[in-house]
């Protein structure tokens, strides 16, 4: 299981990939930022197409472990997060730091490109928007009356 409603424990991911032969461990954690699209974020709600997201995460981990001599751990949080909460974490362990860094960077890039997860931001002024990397300013305002449709 790569998706979780519980807080992400980076130390547990590091333990998962650590071994006596893999001395170099790179990690990336993405935490909820206080501002986006020049607005003050108070809640960031993550939703997913769960079964496909699990499959894509597993495929990304398997591909990384095939591309490099690394062990990979990955977790992505779902649900309502506040500023500072960890949304995604990757840990990669290798005998050599070059490969740990390369794999870590590749995995987080692939997660952003391939895993069906969406973000809905609530701002301090009460406005709500969907994060959309294809939109000119990165967001599309949500309909204020559409609470029921939150994925």
């Amino acid at each position: 299981m790569y998706l979780t409603h519980d807080p992400i424990d980076l130390a547990a991911l590091i333990t998962q990939v650590s071994s006596a032969e893999h001395g170099g461990i790179a990690t990336f954690t993405g935490a909820v930022r206080s501002s986006h699209a020049s607005r003050e974020v108070v809640v960031l709600s993550y939703s997913a197409y769960g079964s496909m997201a699990e499959h894509e995460c597993a495929a990304i981990v398997a591909e990384a472990e095939k591309k490099w001599p690394v062990r990979v751990a990955l977790a992505h949080r779902i649900g309502d997060l506040v500023v500072g909460d960890i949304a995604v974490a990757v840990a990669t362990a290798s005998a050599h730091r070059e490969e740990a860094f390369a794999a870590c960077r590749w995995v987080i890039d692939q997660v952003k490109a391939r895993v069906p997860i969406w973000k809905r931001e609530t701002y301090a002024d009460g406005m709500v928007a969907w994060v959309d990397p294809t939109a000119p300013d990165g967001i599309v305002l949500a309909r204020p009356d559409a609470e029921a449709a939150r994925g």
Binding site: S47, Y49, K112, W118, K119, D132, P133
Partner: protein, 82 residues
């Protein structure tokens, strides 16, 4: 013969259409892109964008993929994970 395709909508698209699931009855051999057009036509006031990402049975798929009875068709907004 008609086929039944279970259609999933997520995030902003679920909001636009006011539903996160639709059961579509479609002619056999229909392509995924044509099914999306049908969804779009059924909800003219809340049109989906002209280009959407699709998944069939949990794997990304192109618009020209034929649909089969019992398929799960997912219409995906731009991905925003991480």
């Amino acid at each position: 013969m008609a086929i039944t395709v279970h259609t999933l909508l997520f995030a902003r698209y679920a909001e636009l259409l006011g539903a996160d699931q639709l059961t579509l009855t479609l002619p056999e051999g229909i392509k995924a892109g044509e099914a999306v057009t049908q969804v779009r036509n059924q909800h003219p006031g809340n049109a989906l964008p002209s280009t959407v990402l699709l998944a069939i049975n949990g794997r990304q798929a192109t618009l020209d993929r034929p649909l089969h009875d019992g398929d799960e068709l997912a219409i995906l907004p731009p991905l925003a994970g991480g």
